[in-house]
Structures are given as structure tokens and as C-alpha cells.
Symmetry: C2
Subunit: 209 residues, 2 copies
């Protein structure tokens, strides 16, 4: 059989996105070493040579995938801001609770995040992405903390809110990790409760659960 497989052309953005998605799938399923050119191409429904048309090297594709993932994780918590109450205190509580429960809590996302994170100490670009996404999240949290404090008539100096944001962000990350990896160790709703209660202590605020 000499017949070529029929194909349809796609826009560049669609192709790049599909390749990036396929890469993330491969990594999630088999770790970084599973993201071979052939595996990615197969997952994306194209042939291996196509990757080199859209990305100079496989390494560039993998880097783009990691960057997409980190950005997406940061946005996951922001995606539902519209659904939160307008009241700053309740808004903050909702934000915190969402960050430690599904769908943000997710084993696959955690695995991908860890795969990206191991690159940070040795890849300058990945490190820059991590720093940017960390600061973006933390700053958003700090803003919400400041709003909640002010709404409760408590002091919200930048030095104070910064420290609260650093600690709060760390707490949320740590809870997110364990909730994603070992969900059966915790009762339903327990993580949300622990997170919100801990924040209430840190901020000396009465946060609704």
C-alpha cells in the first residue's frame, strides 16, 4: 500500500495547541520521559514530522507545554472568581475553599505541576514562568486579603498583607498537594474547612465556611 493517509489542514494556533495538549497528556500518563516525538504525534493525531514544523525542537514543544500548564493552573483559581460573593470576606473564603477542593484539586494536575516544578532549579525560562505565576497568584491573594481586612475594619498595611499572603499561599499549596495526592486521607469537605479555619486564624478574621 502506497496510499498516504488523508488529512485536513488546521490553523497554526490549533495545531500548536493540540501538540501542547498531547504533550501534557503524555507527561501526565508516563512522566517526562514518556513525551517522545512519536508518542506526542500519535496522541495529537498527526505524524512525527509535523512537530518540527511548528516547534524548532521537541524541547521547545515541551517547554511550551510546561508554560501553558503553569499558566493554566494559576488561572484555574481565577476562573471562578465571578461565581464568588461580592462581599470581600465571603469572597476570600470562597476563593480559599475552591483552591483546596476539586476541580482545582486534581491528581493529574498535580503530577503535571510536579513535572514542571522539577525543571525550575535548572531551566531559566521555566524559572521565570514559575516566578511570574507564583507572584501573580500571591498578589491576587494579597489583594483579596487586604479587601477582606478592610471590610472587617482591620489594619491592612502592605507589609502585613504581604506576609499573610506568603503564608496563606503556602498553606493553600501544601493542602492542595496532599488533597490531590492522598484524597482518601481526608474526609469530604475537611480540606475546605481546615483551609478556611486556618486562614481565619492567620488573618484574625471570621471567615464563613
Amino acid at each position: 500500500m502506497n496510499a498516504r493517509r488523508p488529512y485536513r489542514r488546521e490553523a497554526e494556533e490549533a495545531r500548536r495547541a493540540a501538540l501542547i495538549e498531547a504533550t501534557l497528556d503524555c507527561i501526565a500518563e508516563g512522566g517526562p520521559q514518556a513525551a517522545t516525538v512519536r508518542a506526542i504525534a500519535l496522541k495529537a493525531g498527526v505524524t512525527p514530522g509535523l512537530i518540527r514544523h511548528y516547534f524548532a525542537t521537541k524541547e521547545e514543544l515541551v517547554a511550551a507545554a510546561h508554560e501553558t500548564l503553569m499558566t493554566r493552573l494559576t488561572e484555574a483559581s481565577a476562573a471562578r472568581l465571578d461565581e464568588l460573593p461580592a462581599d470581600p470576606v465571603a469572597r476570600l473564603a470562597g476563593f480559599i475553599g475552591n483552591a483546596v477542593t476539586p476541580p482545582v484539586v486534581d491528581a493529574r494536575a498535580l503530577s503535571l505541576w510536579a513535572a514542571s516544578l522539577q525543571l525550575v532549579p535548572r531551566d531559566a525560562a521555566m524559572r521565570a514562568v514559575h516566578e511570574a505565576t507564583y507572584l501573580a497568584f500571591r498578589n491576587r491573594l494579597e489583594g483579596m486579603i487586604a479587601d477582606a481586612l478592610r471590610a472587617a475594619g482591620k489594619p491592612a498595611t502592605p507589609a502585613r498583607t504581604r506576609r499573610m499572603a506568603i503564608a496563606g499561599n503556602a498553606l493553600m499549596d501544601g493542602l492542595w498537594i496532599e488533597a490531590s495526592l492522598l484524597p482518601e486521607l481526608f474526609e469530604s469537605g475537611e480540606m475546605r474547612s481546615i483551609a478556611i479555619h486556618a486562614f481565619a486564624r492567620l488573618l484574625d478574621l471570621n471567615l464563613p465556611e
Copy 2:
């Protein structure tokens, strides 16, 4: 040249340990995909075939390396317990501070930890190791929290200390991650201060910094 390279025999434990160490070095330097049989052997100062003498497959060696790493990380915080004050409150403060400062805070250790962590969602053995080490650390922390609360004359019911340990552990993990990855974002001693202060709030204890 037909000359074989001269060699010395070593005890099995020493060989296995050297191979495991070499594996961790490879992963730390180049990620999971860099831990090839040849790279590991070279790093360990042996030839590739030796790996198969001590481990059935390369995969088994990599798994042993990850397990060693996770166990070692848990023990890193315990290693200096002897140096801490006997007073339960000061002891807890010291434990917390140490967990978020060097040498526990370390980019290489973080990178290796992340590499191990990405395996947890899909490798039953790795997951079991993670669960065991997580619970070991958390339980130790819980014990120290309980001791400190009692020393301060405060209630230390198991339900309460468990929640505190979950939150406290998460906080420490989160701070450890960012202190390891982005140290230049924080002032010297700042993480220790933030961690201890946050714990003081969580536990409603006066912890010495």
C-alpha cells in the same frame, strides 16, 4: 587495546547505595529522562552492566532512588531534633524554623522531590512511600504540637491537634517549596519568621523566633 579497566570489588550495600546516589544525581541534573543506564553507571564509576547485577531493571533502580530520596527528606527534619531545646514550645519553634531554612531548604532537594512526586498519582509503590512519609512527618509534628499546647496549658485534643498538624504541615511544605525555588524573593530569615509567626497564630501560642 584489549586491557580491561582494573577494578575493586565492593560490598553489595555499598554498590547499591552508590548506584542510587548516582541515579539521584542524574535526575537532579537533568530530570528523570537523564537517568539513563549509561549516565548512572558513569556517575557511579562502574560500567552499565553492573546495574543489572544489583537491580533487576533500571526501573527498579530508579524506584529505589526515589524511595530513598523521600525517606531522606523526611529524616532531614528529624536529623536535628537533638539540637533543639527540651522545652516543648521552643522545641516546636525550632523545628518549624529549621524546616523552612537551609540546609533543609535546597533547590536540588526540591527538584528531586518534585520528580518523585510526579510519580505518585500513577505508581502504587511510590504512592505508598509518599503516604508513609507524609504521615510520619505529620504525626511527628502533631506530637510536637500536642506537647507544646500542653506545656502552655492549652487543650490538645486529638481532633484539634490533627487539624493543626495538617494545616501546619501544609504551611511548612508550601513555604519550603518557594524558599527552595525562589530564595531571592525573600529576605534572610524572613521565611523562618513568617513560618513561626503563622504557627503561633494557628496554635494560638506564643512561639519564640
